[in-house]
Symmetry: D4
């Protein structure tokens, strides 16, 4: 299980895991968002189907290592988010990665339709979902972290300003 | 906006809102779960389409009133969770209520497919989703509340025992 | 909220709003149609999720400013048309903008499946829907505007002639 | 073409048409709404497939008879709304009637996915859609009818009050 | 209604009609098949929504002109096959033309889900469906035409031989 | 292969086959229609998966026995219509029988999406499709049978009259 | 993990596992089929989400205990078949159990869309799929067991005879 | 029926069949996997619809020729796997080949939704499904072949190591 921790100085609060390195194009949107907010996190490839023991170990250790949230992305028969949710008390946030032929409809249903008792908080298919999973984790952390709450409100204010500044027809540069 | 607070003694930490009193059959599963865990919460009918100002007011006041999470259920073109997420920094957890003809497929897509920047954590269609939204909120709260974490682990242990005790074919009473 | 009014001379009768400037490629088909018919209109980017207060303000002022119709385009969890319909007595005409992974199926359901009491008149996914929303608004306005009715009938007669002139196999230029 | 006009005194402003008398259970929701608002209307069974000439005649005469809107309901391969839209300049508002096996998904797509040039304003599948088609027609008529606008605003205010008065758990009578 | 008859010598037995010249890329597969079998046919663009009167005229004259079958292609809210079936006793064979965003799912349902009493024989979405509609017409004509039956059996024998000759991995030319 | 021929006197022109006797509730609508028109037909249960040799034998003999059309109903992975089309030059008309969980969506796709070269003329899911398959066969036969054409036109005239006689709200008996 | 072994005498060759005792109504069709063929098997409730360690233990021991196949049924976000496939070299046969709102579409996709490297052999949604999973296991075992092959061929011969004996219309008892 | 046997020395244990040589791009993933494991196999194009007699012959001879499994790929109305399952006691493993417009949803349903009594073990749409069908056959064969079991376990161990070695963000070569 190769690790690429982006913020080695701080102990990670959030784990971003994905079923394959090919999911990175989507999941990097979650990592970028956490980085923007300065939330210490770690990145792992953990395949539910090819690394089930690593998955179980990761889940068993997650709370003790101080993780407050796990963002899990997977595609197709996407079992990683739901299985991780079964293996740890740390809340799991799932990202449906688009699949080749069904464009993520299978990923979405495999993640969101969890049975009563073991939840996965699910977000939109693809890039938007990855970014939003991170934002939702930030919002959860911010409920007990005033500084982070401030950053979140600033982010949303900037976002509102950016939307307000949009023009149609789009202004074409000279 | 009629209120029926179930735990008046404690200031509510979680708001459960829904688009219509007809959503109660589903959303009561969220309320029951919070009650089981002793998490103070409040119940409100807030229709995004018929009470937009109440919705905005609720969102604006939510953080200041101490809400740490909002669970929002709606069906069909289910705008309540996403709009509430736009109106408050408090994290929103969405429950797709089954619709009459499309059985909640419309509700699910209307809730989960939020654009980048404004997340809604989405759960399964129907009863399981309502219960799981509450469980996920509990898991989030438990990351900073050791007692609640203990209750959550006890709940999961009991749940595991109940599953382990299941027999097939089901034992028929004499 | 940057404005780009195309017909400043006349007070706009129709507002064309969209959730992002990226929706312009679709929504310009509505604008072009209104322009062809000489119906004064305005263009606005109003994001339901990033600019909820601007959205409410727009809805509250719409009738008083003389708007007779609002054409609203949005994609994914497309809440703008339905929320605008909740915020104004001016009739709202919704355009499902194609989404990246689900090609507008989510947009269509999020717009059309409104609950009883707050309608959105919905049109086809994409370019055809945008053009048709404008044509339908024109048809509504034309019920009390004989000149516009004349233009509409001329448009339809030309359209019929163009279809009649179609040849198969298509004539290839020399 | 048997007619059952509900308000013979006034010349009808709105035609409600449907493909079969079996659609009445859905379409009566449109009629009831128009009746509540005192909008003179007529009811007709016009089958696109079994009465194409009657359909063409109805469309040709509609504008001259003073109709300002046509509400058309149909199920399955639902061609009535789109064909009526091709046959008259009067704006057409389509209601997808639920089908036996596909629950109205076929009806919805057959109505909403009209090609550029001939719009049908489409509403939700079933009862809600029928009621909302009528409400949208009322909103269109109200743009030039202050009394009707007043009724519409009163309706919406009552609707908001009714939603505000909802309680959960529902109050059980003693 | 521009006509491009490919076999002017013989009176056409089959009419191939389509909603727009843009459908030609698909519908040419029907024409090519009829040409291969030497079945006299005609080609017409007839838009149900832009040329309803031409459509009715075509249907009314079809039997008298000696047409034995009509192959009708259309996309999206594809009303041409079903309406033509309502307008003529000549059997209608429908081809769902792929639509831009829903890839022909809407076309298929709009064509195949006809109500009891007015059938459209429907084929696969796209090129295969167009070719097969023609083949099916040929099979129907061949039930009373021994020469055509012979050609059909020869075609199928060749088709079987071509399939039998297929190799995997495909033979790569030197 | 038990046979229940309804019109033993005449040599059957149409074969109605189905994958199981449980399909009878749907397929009887095809038989009733042929009976109404006096078209001699035979009924057979032929399971593609449980009776492949009988299926091949039936296909091989069909043309020689004078069958002019085969109506085939099946549900789920509905292979009977397509396989019969591969086994005989007689044209095959397919009826998607509703399946238990997917309501005939699987049946429809399994029947209609045939590859280029081997067509199945497909009709609506369920009762309407069965009746319409028979009506379409009748229309094909009627192209060379003036008496049958007359019956078909009379049927359609009666059908039009029945639709014209429909009233809404439905007349309630005293 | 309560066990109810139906054939204690023989060491089980097949394990039938399911996510909940509520899946029994479907999965009993697999058990009945194995029983009919005299294939020793065991029944277990193993919830992927509530009993992940039991699931891992079961998978780890399966081959050593002599299991030659595992039939796994689950509904909704159905992770049990795929996870079991990841945990054992014994081949896994998956049965999509119908879900409450999506009727097993979610179950099917969650089971069948496994990534390259970890297969689950998947069968139809519901009762037919459960029976067929067992039949397929029997066919696999029969490739090296002449007696079982004989039983399988006898079963199929009886099945063919039963289909051949079907009559339509169904014979009504006097 | 052109044959391209890859391992002429050994008598084939597995037949890989497909409906057209155009399916090779998908099905080669099954062949490659069998080759990697040294499982003797043969390749055939067998079209259910264009070569039904060859298909029946292949099924009738399969067991006698020593085939232990048949992997069958097909797209659209994909009848080859199910029909082959009806024609032989050898277990059949189906691969849904992606179709042009519906991306394999039709292929999947046509293969997996087999009626009770005639199973097809179905795998994912496309390349992953082809590879996995082969892997599942290998797992079945390995239950009575210790050497193959050893290879399978080595394959899985390598696969696990490969997944463990994945890094995110992917390491870019200098």
């Amino acid at each position: 299980m190769a690790a690429t921790d982006t913020q080695a100085a701080a102990s990670p609060m959030v784990g971003i895991i994905m079923g394959s390195s090919s999911d990175w194009d989507i999941m990097k949107n979650a990592a970028a968002m956490l980085e923007d907010f300065g939330v210490a996190h770690e990145l792992r490839v953990i395949s539910a189907h090819r690394m089930p023991q690593d998955m179980a170990d990761y889940g068993a250790a997650a709370a003790g290592r101080g993780l407050r949230a796990i963002i899990a992305g997977a595609g197709g028969a996407a079992h990683l988010p739901g299985m991780m949710a079964a293996l740890t008390p740390v809340p799991v946030f799932g990202v449906p990665v688009p699949s080749k032929y069904l464009r993520g409809e299978d990923s979405l249903l495999s993640i969101v339709q969890m049975p009563k008792g073991v939840p996965v908080a699910t977000f939109a298919i693809g890039e938007a979902g990855a970014a939003n999973a991170a934002l939702h984790v930030i919002a959860c952390l911010a409920t007990t972290d005033a500084a982070l709450r401030g950053k979140l409100e600033a982010f949303r204010a900037r976002q509102t300003e950016a939307a307000r500044a949009m023009e149609v027809p789009p202004r074409v540069p000279l």
